[in-house]
Structure formats: structure tokens, C-alpha cells
């Protein structure tokens, strides 16, 4: 029960006036940074890192962690209201959040996102509190073959259930995979697919660039084409009563996604290679897979909002774990936090829990407080965000365009990427016209850069023998499940043919 005495003292540390103040400021700042398209927790934490030099290390990391949390909540806001992912971690939130908003249920989507985030964050913090050292060991057991098996599983969840048109889903995945290979290849040390010798492609195609293009520009064009600008959103309720009834509905229709996201997100977040973005996409896939009504996904299912939102908060807590216990960042944001810890004179790694227990438990305590603060602040701001939707689409559309461009530039500071955003936006519009699912392409460009190197590393390890994915104790079962899931639609198809033939 030692853990609980540490935890209580940690929570007290977090409740000290300076820390509590920093949590409130951090969460609010994070919320708005997260809500800005293109800007995510990475940017927020990086920009504010130098400020933390002025306060003690424990307060500094509490502040940055609060921004990280706030941004995870905030990312959902523009995903829902504008259809542009507020941060890369919130891309999957647009899949169902945006349709809900178009049906006039933006407040339901936002409330679901907030509550799911809260549950995700809290569940993850509890796991973190109880099992941190154990989970660090588990993370170490994930070498390249295990990570690749996991990525295969993620793809499988999308192929197996990508809708009715499996060839189109596979095409979409392959398209994303090709885009993911552009740029410098670490393993061979050579540049690949530097199209037209444009130097900007050396960097590869940023995921956020694709996401803003597809969901910001593409979605805007699609909406204009579908509605000719005469979009009618029913006036959303904004009373306390309305919020309460939304909350009830969110719990009723989103609890399943929330649990899946909370648990899966945490474990994916703990693996150093992955992080919150793959975690949220995988949770979306799995939630859809186990749902009794998968056809609702993509058309405004609260579960489809809850799963990725619970997962991204859960994963962001999870990704702190390898950072603190192994000194290895689980996500880009924790990489910057890690740099911060070095600056504050702390050595992240296996000894941190022993040598700096006050710091570690103060941080863990702050996770609980930050989560609570974030959900309350977020709920308080929902009416403001929903109000934005009352603007006629003729005003909103140029706004979305400007935000996409500004957000894209802020994230990458490169004109090359702005052109790509526009091209991807147009491309996405036409892909949608021809009824190609876009989510698998987005999934592929997120997971491709993880899957490809781990595949090649694994095969280097085994001297080219693919059995390495089946013979290792953790990789084996995951690979088998993934293959079954990929083949599932083929079986179904066969059975249907047979029954048709016999009938």
C-alpha cells in the first residue's frame, strides 16, 4: 500500500497553490492550442518549454503535462466543429464527430469527446499508478517484430471492416503506404521518391499535412458541393439542461468506445514507437470491429467519437511511462518533455522513480488533477464552440480554408507543405466523389513509417526469415490474429457465394 501513500502525497504536491495555478493555466492554454488546426501538444509544449526554467522542476513538468492534456481535449474541438483535425491525435475524431456536427449534434459530439477523454485519462493514470515499473518491462519486450505485428493488426482492423468495398479500402491503404515511403530512408540511408526532384520531398510527407488537406480542405469542398453552401444546422441547445441531456446520451451511446479507447490507447501509448495518434486510430478500428452496428461508424456514432478521444488521452498518459522509466519518448511531445527534464537536471531512466520519487509522484498526482480540471474547463467552453457553428457555411468555409492554411504553415513553416495541403485537399475531394474511403489512407500514412522500418529491421534480425513473426512469444499470437482478421472478409465472401450457389 506504499503506492497509496506516495500517491496521496503526490496529489497534495499537485494541489499546492503554484502547481494548481499552473495546471489551470496549462490546461486552458493547451485546450486552445489543441483546438487550433495544425497546432498540437508538440507545438504548445515546445513553445512554452523555456518559461518553465523559472519554476521548480516538479512544477515545470506539471505545467507542461497539463498543456499536453489540455491539447488532447482541445484537439477534438476543431475536429468536430470545423472538420479539421485540431491535432494529429484527433484525426479519428473527425470520422464521426464531423457527421454529428452536420446533423446539428455538435454539442453531443463535444460532450462525448470531453467525457471520453476524462475516462481515458483517468483509467490510464490508474494503470500508470499501479503498474508503471511492470509496464516498462513489457514495453522493453516489444522489439521490431512485435511492433510490426501490432501494426499489421492495426491495418487488419481497417481492412476487415473498412466498409463494403474491400478493394477500395485496400487501394486506399496502399496509396497511403506509398505516400509514407516518400523521403529519406533511415535503413538504407538513401532518399526515396523525391518527386520531380523537389527538395521538400526529402523530408517526407508529414502526416499533419495530409490530415489538414484531406479533412480541412477536402471536407470543406465536399460540404460545399453537397449543400451548395446552404447548410442548415439545427440550432444546438446550449442550456445547462441541454448539456446534461447530451451527457446522458453520451454515456449511453459512447461507453463502449470509451472503454476500448481507454485500455487500448494506454497500451499502444506505452510502446515507445507508437504514441497517441496510432493509438487513437487503432481504437477507432477496434471499436468499429466489435460494434454491433458498424454501419453507424462514419455517419455519426458517439462510440466513434468516444473511442479515439478516450484513446488519445489514455495514450498520452501511457507515453509518459517509457519517458520516465526508460528515458525514451513514446511520442513527439514526450520527446520534448524529455529534453526539458534534462534541462531541469533530472535523469529520466530506470532510477528516476527511486531517486526523484517526489518529482515522479507529484507528476502522477497532477495527472488526476489535470484531468479533472480539463474536463470541467472543456465542458464550460462547449457552448462557445458550438456557437461558432451557427455561422452560415458561406462564412465558415473561408474561415476553414484560412485556418487550414495558417495551421498547416504554423506546424511546418514550409510553403512546400502548403501546396501539398491544397493538392491533398483536391485529391481527397475526388477520392470521395468516387467513393474511396479516406480513413485507411490516413491510417496508412501514420502507421507506415512505423511498420516499414520494423518489418525491415525484423527481417534483418532473422536474416530474411519471415517466421520471426510467428515464433516469438509476443509477436506470434498478434500476427496470427492480424492475419485472421485480414482474411475474414474473404471467408465471409466465400460463404455468401456458397450459400447463394446452393440456395
Amino acid at each position: 500500500m506504499e503506492v497509496f501513500s506516495f500517491l496521496v502525497s503526490g496529489i497534495f504536491t499537485a494541489l499546492e497553490p503554484i502547481n494548481l495555478g499552473l495546471i489551470l493555466v496549462g490546461v486552458t492554454v493547451g485546450l486552445f492550442i489543441g483546438a487550433m488546426p495544425g497546432l498540437g501538444s508538440v507545438n504548445g509544449v515546445a513553445i512554452l518549454l523555456p518559461i518553465t526554467f523559472l519554476v521548480p522542476p516538479a512544477s515545470a513538468i506539471i505545467f507542461l503535462a497539463a498543456i499536453y492534456y489540455g491539447a488532447m481535449y482541445g484537439g477534438a474541438i476543431s475536429s468536430v466543429t470545423l472538420g479539421i483535425p485540431g491535432a494529429s491525435t484527433a484525426v479519428a475524431t473527425t470520422f464521426d464527430g464531423r457527421p454529428l456536427a452536420l446533423q446539428g449534434r455538435a454539442s453531443l459530439a463535444l460532450v462525448t469527446a470531453a467525457l471520453a477523454s476524462f475516462v481515458g485519462g483517468t483509467v490510464a493514470t490508474i494503470f500508470f499508478t499501479l503498474f508503471a515499473p511492470l509496464l516498462a518491462t513489457v514495453a522493453l519486450n516489444f522489439g521490431p517484430p512485435e511492433i510490426f505485428a501490432l501494426m499489421l493488426l492495426a491495418f487488419a482492423t481497417f481492412v476487415g471492416l473498412g466498409g463494403d468495398d474491400i478493394p477500395k479500402t485496400i487501394f486506399s491503404i496502399c496509396f497511403g503506404l506509398v505516400l509514407a515511403t516518400v523521403g529519406f530512408d533511415t535503413i538504407s540511408g538513401e532518399p526515396r521518391l523525391v518527386l520531380f526532384d523537389i527538395q521538400g520531398f526529402l523530408r517526407g510527407i508529414g502526416f499533419i499535412v495530409l490530415a489538414i488537406g484531406v479533412y480541412g480542405i477536402g471536407e470543406m469542398l465536399w460540404t460545399i458541393e453537397q449543400t451548395r453552401g446552404e447548410i442548415t444546422t439545427t440550432n444546438p441547445k446550449m442550456t445547462a439542461k441541454g448539456l446534461a441531456s447530451d451527457a446522458k446520451e453520451a454515456v449511453r451511446r459512447g461507453w463502449k468506445g470509451t472503454w476500448i479507447g481507454s485500455i487500448l490507447g494506454f497500451f499502444v501509448g506505452v510502446l515507445p514507437a507508437a504514441g497517441a495518434t496510432p493509438g487513437s486510430l487503432m481504437s477507432y478500428g477496434v471499436a468499429k470491429m466489435v460494434s454491433r452496428t458498424p454501419q453507424e461508424y462514419g455517419r455519426g456514432s458517439p462510440d466513434g467519437v468516444a473511442a479515439p478521444e478516450a484513446a488519445n488521452n489514455s495514450a498520452s498518459t501511457g507515453s509518459m511511462l517509457p519517458m520516465l522509466t526508460l528515458g525514451i519518448p513514446g511520442s513527439p511531445t514526450t520527446a520534448i518533455l524529455l529534453g526539458g527534464m534534462v534541462i531541469w537536471g533530472l535523469t529520466p531512466g530506470p532510477r528516476l522513480f527511486l531517486d526523484e520519487s517526489e518529482f515522479v509522484w507529484g507528476l502522477i498526482g497532477s495527472f488526476y488533477i489535470s484531468n479533472l480540471a480539463a474536463v470541467l474547463i472543456n465542458l464550460a467552453f462547449i457552448p462557445l464552440f458550438v456557437w461558432m457553428l451557427r455561422m452560415p457555411f458561406t462564412i465558415l468555409a473561408p474561415l476553414i480554408f484560412v485556418l487550414s492554411i495558417v495551421g498547416g504553415f504554423a506546424a511546418t513553416r514550409s510553403m512546400h507543405d502548403l501546396w501539398l495541403i491544397v493538392i491533398f485537399g483536391l485529391g481527397a475531394f475526388f477520392m470521395r466523389k468516387f467513393d474511396y474511403p479516406l480513413a485507411p489512407a490516413v491510417l496508412a500514412i501514420v502507421l507506415g513509417p512505423i511498420a516499414e522500418p520494423t518489418l525491415r529491421q525484423s527481417l534483418l534480425l532473422s536474416s530474411g526469415d519471415p517466421m520471426i513473426f510467428f515464433t516469438r512469444p509476443i509477436a506470434g499470437p498478434i500476427t496470427v490474429i492480424a492475419i485472421i482478421l485480414i482474411l475474414l472478409p474473404a471467408f465471409k465472401l466465400l460463404r455468401r457465394r456458397r450459400s447463394v450457389a446452393s440456395g
Binding site: 521490431p144 526532384d197 528515458g327 520534448i336 530506470p350
Partner: protein, 357 residues
């Protein structure tokens, strides 16, 4: 290739060990580490630059930045270069040393090609700086199409150099370099080491070691040093040549065992770890941690930044960082830096051609 032993009059430091058994390669390599010459003169230099700082700072007041300063990082977030850049930025910010902020931006794409091109094409060279690692040398060699001539860049401040150390996991039972060599030979091509991408620092060190001892090592490239250290901790791979900063946490927890340092002299933090030079191979290798300016930066601006960053360098914060992260100091003035670059480029060209051989 040149066999003139006379190239390294300063080689007396390693005494008889650097005798004639070194290969021609090592001889060329020696030139790189002829910089060790400075090892001895380091103290003198350091002292000199302390004195020199004052007038430089005073002179620098003539020029002041007029807009935020682009502080490009040649690598992705979280790696060694990134940590250093953010550390330096924090020191500058905390002490209010510049009237305009430093804006760090990670441009690690194409193994630093993105950052190099960004500086090469900088519209405002007076406000464009970069934090480097050794891809500053290797990337322009490997990707000639970029048309980058690093000698056109403006030297600002050498913040230190980061040595490489050979690590194994404690469960391997290996405690000495000789045991390591024996094990690798016994495994006959099945010994697995991890490191950063092909043609990058780790692969250069491992390729040299394999060549010198005729080892057959299976090399797995990773994205960054952090991932490499993690997979050694999980025993997915058997050994690494991480920088001390990357392996420190695991070393302190007792998981990693250092076998050999690729530094000129034994490192203060690892006094019992022998160097490659003691083993009779005149080879050492460091990752450069420097700040450079864009080509075409005016002399006034360069002097201003040299003033700022040498103040950072002298400061207690940075000196403590050098110790805690096991970086070696290597202070140089502009002319020395240019000479250093020239030898580094030549040496890397040689090393890379042997790897690709």
C-alpha cells in the same frame, strides 16, 4: 592513401601504441583526430577564449538582431542535437541574453538535408542559425545533388563533442572488450548490433571497429539513439555504440556495461573503460555539437552570436551540462573551426567510401 606517419606529430600522446601497426585508414583517420593536438592546448585555449569573450561581447553591441532568430535543429525532436538546442535556448531565455527570441525548429528531414538546404537558401542569413551533428559532414557527401558546400557556412561556436562508447547488456556476461571480440567471432555473423541509420555516426563507428578486428556483425539501423538504447535494454540487440547521454540512465541502473570508449583519452565519467587507442588502433570518433550560421552571414552578426553563445558556453549551466552528459569541450575560434571542418569532411569522405566500398 598516404602512409606518412609524420602526419601526426601530436600522436605522441598515445605513445608506442600508435606505432606502425595502424592501417593506412587509421592514418587518415588520425588526421581527424589530429585535433587532439588541441587536447593539450585546450586549457590554454579555454583560458584565452574566456579573456577574449569580453571584448567580443562589447564589440557585438554594434549589431543587434531585429527579428526573431531562426534556430534550426538538424535533427528531429528528442535526440541529442534537439536536447542541446533546447537547453541553449532556455539558458539564453532565462538570462535574457538576446533582445529577440530564438525560435527552435526541427528540420531533421533527409538526415539533415532539409536543414542544410534551409540555411543555404536563407533569405536573411543574419537571423538564421543551426545546431549541428555529424550529418553536417556526412549528408552533403552522401547526397551530392544537394549542392551543399559546408565551408560556406559561418562558424559560430563549438559547444562540445559527444564521444561514442561500446555498450552491452549486463545479462550477456561480457565485461571486457576482449570477451566481446571473442563472442562476436564465435557467433560467426549472428552477432546483432543496433545503431542509427546507414551512413550515420553509429554505422561509421561500427564499420571501423568491424574492419579493424575483422568482425562479422549484423547491423540493424534505427531512427535514433533513444530507440537503439531501448532495444539494447530489452535485449532485442546485443550491443550498441550509443553516446553516453543516451545510455546513461540504463548504465546507472546497472543494465548496461561499457566496454570501450571511442574517445582520445579515458572519460572522466568512465575511468575504468579503455579507449580504442589503448587497444592499439588510432581511432576516435565524436559527434559534433556546434552552432553554425547561414552562408553569407555578416561579420557583425557572426560576432554578435559568437559573443552570446560563448557566454552560454562559459556559463555554469552549460559547464554542468557538459559534465552530466559526458560531452568533451572543444573550444575553437573561427579559423580553427574552418580547419576542423576541412579535415572532418576529408575524413568522413574516406570513412563513407570504405563503408559503401
Amino acid at each position: 592513401m598516404n602512409e606518412t606517419g609524420g602526419r601526426s606529430p601530436e600522436g605522441d600522446e598515445d605513445g608506442a601504441k600508435s606505432a606502425n601497426n595502424t592501417s593506412a585508414t587509421a592514418d587518415i583517420l588520425r588526421e581527424e583526430y589530429t585535433m587532439k593536438l588541441t587536447k593539450r592546448s585546450f586549457l590554454g585555449l579555454a583560458l584565452g577564449s574566456t579573456l577574449a569573450t569580453l571584448p567580443i561581447s562589447a564589440f557585438a553591441q554594434d549589431w543587434q538582431p531585429t527579428r526573431p532568430i531562426d534556430f534550426t535543429i538538424m535533427a528531429g525532436s528528442g535526440g541529442g542535437a534537439d536536447q542541446i538546442a533546447r537547453f541553449v535556448q532556455s539558458v539564453v531565455e532565462a538570462n535574457d541574453m538576446t533582445n529577440r527570441p530564438l525560435i527552435p525548429t526541427n528540420r531533421g528531414g533527409g538526415s539533415g538535408a532539409e536543414a542544410l538546404l534551409h540555411l543555404n537558401d536563407a533569405r536573411d542569413p543574419d537571423h538564421t542559425l543551426m545546431v549541428t551533428l555529424n550529418s553536417f559532414y556526412t549528408t552533403p557527401i552522401r547526397q551530392e545533388g544537394l549542392g551543399i558546400d559546408i565551408e560556406a557556412f559561418t562558424p559560430i561556436t563549438m559547444m562540445g563533442v559527444d564521444p561514442f562508447v561500446l555498450w552491452v547488456h549486463k545479462d550477456s556476461g561480457i565485461t571486457t572488450f576482449e570477451q566481446f571480440i571473442e563472442t562476436v567471432r564465435e557467433m560467426d555473423g549472428e552477432y546483432v548490433m543496433g545503431g542509427t541509420g546507414s551512413g550515420q555516426e553509429d554505422s561509421i563507428v561500427i564499420a571501423y571497429m568491424s574492419g579493424a578486428y575483422d568482425l562479422d556483425i549484423k547491423y540493424i539501423p534505427y531512427d535514433g539513439g533513444g530507440a537503439v538504447a531501448k532495444d539494447l535494454a530489452g535485449q532485442q540487440i546485443m550491443a550498441t555504440v550509443n553516446n553516453p547521454a543516451e545510455a546513461k540512465g540504463f548504465y546507472e541502473a546497472g543494465d548496461f556495461v561499457p566496454l570501450l570508449a571511442f574517445s582520445d583519452e579515458r572519460m572522466d565519467a568512465y575511468p575504468d573503460v579503455p579507449t580504442m587507442k589503448e587497444k592499439g588502433h588510432d581511432f576516435s570518433y565524436y559527434n559534433q555539437r556546434a552552432i553554425v550560421g547561414a552562408p553569407g552571414m555578416s561579420d557583425e552578426a557572426a560576432a554578435y552570436y559568437r559573443g552570446i553563445f560563448s557566454d552560454v558556453y562559459e556559463g555554469a549551466d552549460w559547464q554542468a551540462y557538459l559534465v552530466s552528459e559526458s560531452l568533451s569541450p572543444l573550444p575553437m575560434d573561427e579559423a580553427e573551426t574552418r580547419a576542423y571542418w576541412a579535415t572532418q569532411v576529408a575524413n568522413h569522405r574516406q570513412l563513407l567510401s570504405e563503408i559503401d566500398g
